[in-house]
Symmetry: C2
Subunit: 351 residues, 2 copies
């Protein structure tokens, strides 16, 4: 680090669908936009040397760690987390050892979470860590937070309460919302609908709103994920992951059909030219690459999971998110919030 | 009925967000497009008289049943299904009594399903009926089938197998696909991911593909719902309902942002005019009102649930769907398919 505000990020360059070239291109893009960033990059040393040398902007700002092992998308998390020779493990360890403030990886989500859990460990009081994503919405801040989107396929009422606390903290630090509005995802907004654990979670989250610093709005539905009723949507990792991928797939389908529509006739091709600026602004607003990065919450360290298929734009967005969270001291704030919630519930138990 | 091909539909005119006016407007729209349709309409007699009299196209084609009770969106299904004085009950009974070939309602989904189950009863061999919806997709037929989207919040492996059988039958009769491709919704396409009941269902559905007349493609993810990997997506009603509403909400957000983009500058307003035809075609393709209508599968009769907020276009789309299913003899075909599956599994059990 060159001075006090300098942030070092630890980047797993392997394991993404597009290989290390896309990752290094994303690093270069971020480096040229943000002089406060340095990098430790983990993966095949020779390949990385070659890629980094080509980018002038990366001179003296990248340290390469030559690590032979790669976790693939098909590796089982339980096996991958035991390997000590992988770029993923090396990237996480740099955060554990205090060399970097946050880790970014495009690799296998399950393996990344499992390795993060054994290397960084969970925050005191957290049972299941979660992955939070940002979602384009009708709210003034342009995005909502949804969690869990895939860290764990099950969550009981207490887990959902922790997700509410962590999601609210993320919205406060990541989106600048003083008192985020939190909703619990269900199939209906009426209280008699839905699963038993959701009714229990509904009460727990309501009762903890003071400690959590959020305003609880009760049950919300799938349509509220891109809506403006709440800022944070709480759900289990199975449902959240399917909602995330359904939303992405639908937005992409609409975008592709729109492109087709503009190619349909000579007149519509002229129209596309005239509306270019407005359409680009729209595309930027809904482009999943721009909000790329699932944040792992509930660990002693910040890990950002980039899309496996991320290109340079996507990787750069994930790096930006990791930088912002590091600069805001997010992990410490989240830890403090969770600790105070644990203390309060223990006091409740004894008094 | 005027002759052999004439179809009579039973319409619940009450309980939708926009009231009977929108329902009668939808009936009129369908009636003017399709001379083979007659209607029995259930609800407030005086109000319906007035609305129907205004539409010339409905003369001699609508029978009004004056029923005082209305099921609201907030009524509990378990209570609503016990009432004998509602337009919903009356509309379903007309199918039960053979006066109409199918029923359409914009009312409370849970109440409509509960009432349909006690009045029409389930097909032999069906444990949990399901609601199937059509979803805009990249497939040549333009739509995929997804079920269950909200009949029941839980489903075990045997229920998911029945959904696969019923969904495939619906895709064959509703979308004209000889051998529909079926996928089971999960958080990952690898076999080691996901919940235990999904692994079991995966095997059951695979083994029954010959009897069901479908090609099973294994696990699919949220992104495949609007995709082209499969034609039928099988899931439980909790997940399916959230995916459906997330997709609808996302498509609507993108559509609204697109409209804003075209209003942003004078140039983009001109562009919108030039691209009008292409954009309208796109809007029609992704407009949820055009694919309005969840079909209840697994009952001794066809019930189509229209969106609660449906306008005339939406109601007319639901009526069209009910007509097509009635004209193709879908309920009988589905019953035959389910019965053959039951017989086969019983033979398996004794041999």
């Amino acid at each position: 680090m060159r001075d006090g505000v300098q942030i070092t990020l630890s980047i797993d360059a392997m394991g993404g669908d597009r290989g290390p070239a896309a990752v290094v291109a994303g690093i270069a893009r971020s480096a040229s936009k943000n002089p406060a960033l340095d990098f430790i990059v983990h993966g095949n040393g020779a390949e990385l040397e070659k890629l980094v040398r080509k980018r002038k902007v990366l001179r003296d700002r990248v340290e390469i760690r030559d690590v032979p092992g790669v976790v693939t998308m098909h590796d089982k998390p339980s096996q991958a987390m035991r390997r000590t020779d992988t770029s993923m493990r090396s990237a996480i360890d740099a955060v554990k050892d205090g060399e970097a403030q946050a880790c970014v990886s495009c690799g296998n989500t399950g393996a990344l979470m499992a390795t993060s859990m054994i290397r960084l460990r969970k925050l005191d009081g957290v049972n299941r860590p979660a992955i939070a994503c940002l979602w384009p919405s009708r709210n003034p801040q342009g995005f909502n937070v949804m969690l869990d989107v895939g860290a764990d396929i099950r969550a009981d009422a207490r887990d959902l309460l922790q997700y509410a606390m962590m999601g609210a903290s993320y919205a406060r630090n990541g989106l600048g919302l003083e008192t985020p509005r939190v909703g619990l995802l269900n199939v209906g907004t009426e209280e008699h609908k839905g699963r038993a654990e959701l009714k229990e979670a509904n009460e727990l989250i309501e009762n903890a709103s003071d400690i959590g610093g959020y305003a609880f709005k009760g049950f919300v539905e799938g349509g509220d994920i891109p809506g403006d009723r709440v800022d944070v949507i709480v759900t289990d990792g199975f449902t959240g992951n399917i909602a995330l991928k359904t939303g992405e797939g639908t937005a992409k389908l609409v975008g592709d059909l729109l492109k087709e529509a503009f190619k349909a006739t000579p007149l519509s091709r002229i129209a596309a030219l005239l509306a270019l600026t407005s359409l680009k602004r729209l595309q930027k607003r809904i482009d999943p690459r721009r909000v790329n990065g699932g944040v792992f919450l509930g660990l002693r360290g910040t890990v950002v999971k980039s899309h496996g298929s991320a290109d340079a734009t996507g990787v750069s967005a994930a790096i930006k998110l990791a930088y912002e969270l590091s600069a805001s001291g997010f992990t410490d704030r989240l830890a403090a919030r969770v600790a105070s919630a644990v203390a309060t519930s223990q006091n409740d138990g004894t008094s």
